[in-house]
Symmetry: C2
Subunit: 340 residues, 2 copies
């Protein structure tokens, strides 16, 4: 029989005494900061400058825990990364929980602890939140939404209608693709062998901050999550109306990921990442940016993987390791739901 | 057989071509604005002033459509109201969707259309979003998270450690409690009679703006949602360390709500609202605030329902219509999950 005191009940979501206790004991305890502790309907937050970055992401990853992280760490890093690639300094996060009745409160504590730890490491505060409980069978364990606000101190990044990507620019990638997706697949138990593969789930904010500083003005920056690096490359080509040429032999490789992908018939370039960023920088800045990347743990395997061309606009061409060339298409279908 | 082209498939959540089409056809089409149309990882947003309000809410209401609204309208109004009662002018919203595989795209369009309409009426923009799809049976149809940012032009409201509520202050309520909760119960088909009861789901921002202007400096302001007005009253008493005395005969009544609550053995004071606000104002300002409330549709049944006392600190005492007095306790358990 379940110890109901240690499991989420429907009453934890009703706005009453038990919800208040859950918020006090778990969330305020872990996320402790003055903005949140006020427990007003909104957090009132100081901002500097004339522009902020604002983003949102819901996390439904299954399983909740995997080598290299869990849904909580992912929910913080994922949103931080969306802010960082927008040229912003992440500062405030919200956290919205949808929890299935019967969920173990100890597990919730572990997830919340990971969120708090990751937020603290990154110098961001979780300042506002919400908790909903649904009946058993009406959601799968726990879903977390994080929305984030970042301050824009200096705009080193071309964005929106001002995007500036041009022929000759270099394309940089900070490490081997596909680690998150394959770590999740491995945790789902589909391989009959063991590996030490971990998700690359990490906050890229410190790396990106240095990359932006080292570049004169960065042309494009995006974290490659769902759809993998192929999807980001196609996005650059489409959005900036340029061609991209990528050299497969220059793309860093994780051997475990390559083997797992071969077994499943997948291409690592389409597999989800949670700690990979693609940057387009002026040819003259590329080496400087690469140098600062190599000094960071999150960029130690960084490489220049290709360049922008004036040919085949809107398309990404991959020079394969076999010496051929092929179009790197947009992702149509895949077999990896709930990867984040 | 399902027309798969008109239903959400797992591929709509994979970051690829079908997800892009869904975002373009449904979300960008409905929410159309420059910030969102940029489709960057974060929206880059101008802000004025030194402080912003930031809040988040997930919506899991069941059923999705009910008299007076649907999950989409609720998701916009609910977050706008949290910003408004914080003394902020709502300006930007995010929208995060978790959708069950097989969900009807026409229904999604109706929900999204409601969101767009409600945002337009309130002068806010939905500037960033996220879509996740989970396998059939892993969530209940659709859950929506909205996070919101408001600008704080003038601080007419005491908040956080500066809360100023004192003996003699008047407690104002803008209309009869319990309409949202009972409208949901009615839609669930638990009553064997018909009524015209509608949810009070509405943006309170215009009303609150006028209330704040009419008050010198408002002591406390909160929308009464889950847990009903009793929960807000208890919160004021606890947070401000004062006693409250509320006169039951002064609380506006919706006859349908009263009858339904009697049938179910519920107290309307604990039933959820989505368009009700409780304000604590200085005695000398109370009539002025009430006057501006009465001029608005959302405040036409507003009333002074009680006052702050120096007795029984931390407690709310209800003078009942029968002439007695009883403590209005905090909500412990209830029978109304997924009301919002």
């Amino acid at each position: 029989m379940k110890d109901t005191a240690r499991h989420i009940s429907i009453h934890h979501g009703n706005g009453g005494v038990r919800m208040k206790a859950l918020i006090d004991d778990i969330f305020l305890h872990a996320f402790d900061n003055d903005f949140l502790n006020n427990q007003s309907d909104s957090a009132i937050l100081p901002v500097t400058g004339k522009n902020i970055a604002f983003t949102t992401d819901s996390f439904v990853v299954d399983p909740l825990f995997f080598p290299g992280g869990n849904i909580g760490k992912l929910a913080v890093c994922g949103t931080l990364n969306d802010l960082a690639v927008s040229g912003a300094r992440p500062i405030y996060l919200s956290a919205g929980f949808i929890i299935e009745e019967g969920f173990n409160i100890r597990t919730l504590e572990r997830i919340v602890h990971s969120m708090a730890k990751e937020a603290a490491v990154s110098g961001v505060k979780i300042v506002t939140g919400d908790t909903k409980v649904v009946n058993s069978g009406k959601c799968d364990k726990i879903f977390i939404n994080t929305s984030g606000i970042g301050l824009i101190d200096d705009m080193h990044l071309s964005i929106g209608s001002g995007i500036r990507v041009k022929s000759g620019d270099k394309i940089l990638l900070n490490g081997p693709p596909g680690e998150h997706g394959m770590a999740i697949m491995q945790t789902r138990g589909i391989f009959n062998f063991k590996s030490n593969l971990k998700s690359d789930c990490v906050s890229l904010s410190p790396l990106i901050k240095r990359m932006l500083k080292a570049s004169g003005r960065m042309g494009f920056l995006r974290d490659a999550t769902r759809g993998g690096i192929a999807t980001v490359l196609n996005e650059i080509a489409g959005k900036c109306n340029v061609g991209l040429e990528v050299d497969e032999t220059c793309i860093p490789v994780n051997t475990d990921v390559r083997v797992m992908c071969e077994l499943l018939g997948f291409d690592p370039l389409y597999i989800a990442n949670e700690g990979k960023v693609i940057a387009v920088v002026d040819d003259s800045d590329a080496d400087d940016v690469l140098k600062v990347m190599h000094k960071m743990k999150t960029g130690k395997n960084a490489a220049i993987i290709g360049e922008v061309t004036s040919d085949h606009k809107g398309k990404t061409v991959l020079k394969t390791s076999a010496g051929g060339k092929r179009i790197l298409d947009e992702l149509v279908g895949d077999q990896l739901p709930r990867i984040c």
